[in-house]
Symmetry: C2
Subunit: 426 residues, 2 copies
């Protein structure tokens, strides 16, 4: 139900006046946030909201050890990588220690978009190809070239071939055949393949995690055709999937290029591209790459602190355990609520299908929106995703505990019950 | 003179092992920096170096008020722009207050590259064109599309037309005619113009600041042909040129799009695109743009603090006054040193031509390198720029004082004298 937002009319008016109309707000009644701590965000009246949406604050909002590392380094030195310094090397070491040994070199950037954009540049330079395969509702970033590789946001660019996601009727088992088919289309168009680029949890497509391993055959097809495999770990990376630090590890494949971003600095803009050294070496022939802020002293100190907290607080294991508990509770809820369908995901990246009485995908998308908005009023922040807009997107800080999972599931239960009692309401 | 860097061999070896070979180090004997304050950087032995190169720490390294703003906000909240918040609006207001009233909307990004990349996307969407005009040794960023608009780094991409910089024999007065000529080439190639994209101080081309106003006619030509004017203020912006906050203001033109970055957060990754509202409005039709870290709470708090320090400490006026003093002292030095040629620039963005006894541009580039390396050993950090690599690039923090200018000029005088006395040495 839309609530007229009288309370926020002044700030919304200023926003409309000052910011470009490209900006969007969450929720029918937008939320003003003034502070946050761990898994909680607070509005201007001091009301607490359980954050089950933001994947960026991976170790919890305003984690004191991360803030401390940020402050300490910002007071001492913040400079770039054209001087010698220990920090970027320590960070590279700690990052690479979480990867298969074949991935042994790093380049730092500031955002996941910059990382994916660089991966695209590298793929083109290394293969001499211009053909990319992506899933048909994926999102990979906001730069000019990536906006053409983000069908969630708009039409794809030249040389970009889309394949149905693992959520298509053929399922994950059909994924490799779709990639093979796209390679054939590419060949008949006279386009040389550059790379298969996938988000290893297929977030925008609707969260498709299982069965583990279904990616491997698709990767083989791309490599046989001379292209690379780029694992976009911007959303699934840094332990979110519980079973491994990186989504590609669940599929038993070793990428040529790995990109990462969002959670890397717990909100501080830091991102990276890791790759096989021979891939970087070929790109580097006659080319340098300098990113002014990429790998700066402060960004490195922050990213190091985040990695340390993930290890020290056992957040990978917590994501696995709490995620499993949460999914089990959601499956149980779904078994008695016809409005909920399949529960998917791994660790603390969860997707829940929403079903509607009305026919068609539009009705399901509307029903999903209603749930998201109602949950906001009940103090739990979620999002929606998927080609049909019919999947609840749940990505909590990795410090999420059993009690938080209980709060989330109870609020969802109450929301669905209220909607059953007053259809169209809540 | 190349000094074998035994001292740093271990850290250099680790760097080679961990980072991609795309990374480069400054100086024949690379510098390890462990802390910095105001205009000084310190190596691991505590030796101080006068920073006359880094344009990012615009209010001085580790400015306490900027660190304080960073710390305070990072402890309270760091989130994105899909919730309502005051900080991005305050920052937009303070930024727009420095611009002509026609420029009244902002989008936040994290880096100058992201800002220029978005400006390119916007220009294409708004004009329906794909043709861009840039100067022939310019640099505009590292994304896929911008690497094709950065001839300093490599070949230009499709639809990109280069024109000689104001440093060409015809001089600044010939610039508009070159743009007109490029538009004619575009027309005969059947390419519709999208934008004229220039760094308003022509940094990479070799620093060309005067006479003020020479840009205006070129901009008129582009507009008459239906294209936009993008002022790349990533290097000249934020008061560096002394006479105005933005380089385009010295030329008496109002751009359609203004991009900014590097100094905006004094080292923190924050950048922005400001534009005429009708330009953003047209881009926004059917399109949103969400940059996860762009306009986040902490980045906004930091950028606000930087703007406040620039105003409070009168750094625009200091850049004008100290810059004028520095250029005058350099002109005086050049008048008695045949190794120095033209002194160019505005405020604290200064370019000094280096001449060599040897013939050809290669000899001048080598001579410039020798000066830069010798100055590093004398404790003053400079860079080089220009198509011929023969221009000393001096871009100091805007807190640079008369005494620092004296130190720089004295070191340059000593360097050139030592080189005269021992040719090929120092």
């Amino acid at each position: 139900m839309t609530t007229p937002d009288m309370e926020h009319s002044a700030i919304i008016a200023r926003r409309t006046q000052l910011l470009a109309p490209t900006y969007q707000l969450f929720y029918e009644q937008p939320l003003q946030v003034v502070r946050a701590r761990d898994v909680w965000m607070y509005d201007e009246h001091g009301r607490a909201y359980l954050d089950a949406y933001n994947n960026v604050p991976v170790v919890g909002h305003c984690h004191p050890e991360v803030v401390e590392a940020l402050t300490r380094q910002a007071s001492i030195l913040n400079t770039h990588t054209r001087y010698l310094a220990e920090l970027p090397l320590q960070l590279a070491e700690d990052l690479l220690a979480t990867m298969p040994r074949e991935i042994s070199n790093v380049v730092f950037t500031c955002t996941g978009s910059e990382a994916n954009d660089l991966a695209v540049r590298i793929s083109k330079a290394v293969t001499g190809g211009t053909g990319f395969i992506i899933t048909d509702y994926s999102y990979h970033g906001v730069t000019d070239v990536l906006s053409g590789m983000s069908p969630e946001d708009g039409p794809v660019g030249p040389g970009v071939y889309t394949v149905p996601s693992p959520g298509a009727p053929e399922g994950p088992a059909g994924f490799a055949a779709h990639v093979q088919n796209a390679l054939e289309r590419m060949r008949s168009d006279g386009i040389r393949p550059a790379a298969l680029l996938v988000d290893t949890i297929f977030s925008s497509d609707g969260v498709f995690s299982d069965p583990k391993g279904f990616l491997a055959e698709a990767v083989r097809h791309m490599r046989d055709a001379g292209g690379l495999f780029i694992a976009d770990e911007v959303q699934p990376g840094f332990g979110r999937l519980g079973e491994a630090m990186w989504g590609f590890q669940r599929h038993g494949v070793v990428p040529d290029i790995v990109t990462m971003g969002k959670p890397m600095g717990n909100g501080h803009p830091v991102a990276a591209v890791a790759a096989r050294p021979e891939v970087f070496a070929q790109f580097a022939r006659g080319r340098h790459y300098f990113n002014t802020f990429g790998g700066n002293s402060v960004s490195c100190a922050v990213a190091l602190a985040v990695l340390q907290v993930i290890h020290k607080e056992g957040l990978l294991e917590n994501a696995r355990r709490t995620g499993e508990y949460l999914r089990r509770a959601l499956v149980k809820l779904a078994s008695r609520c016809p409005a909920l369908g399949e529960v998917r995901g791994a660790g603390l990246f969860v997707g829940v299908e929403v079903r509607s009485d009305g026919a068609g995908t539009r009705a399901s998308a509307l029903a999903t929106k209603q749930v998201v908005n109602a949950m906001r009023h009940r103090g739990v922040l979620l999002g929606s995703t998927g080609r049909g807009g019919n999947v609840l997107k749940i990505r909590t800080p990795l410090t999420f505990k059993i009690e938080h999972a209980d709060t989330l599931v109870q609020a969802l239960d109450d929301t669905l019950q209220a909607q059953r009692e007053a259809p169209g309401g809540d």
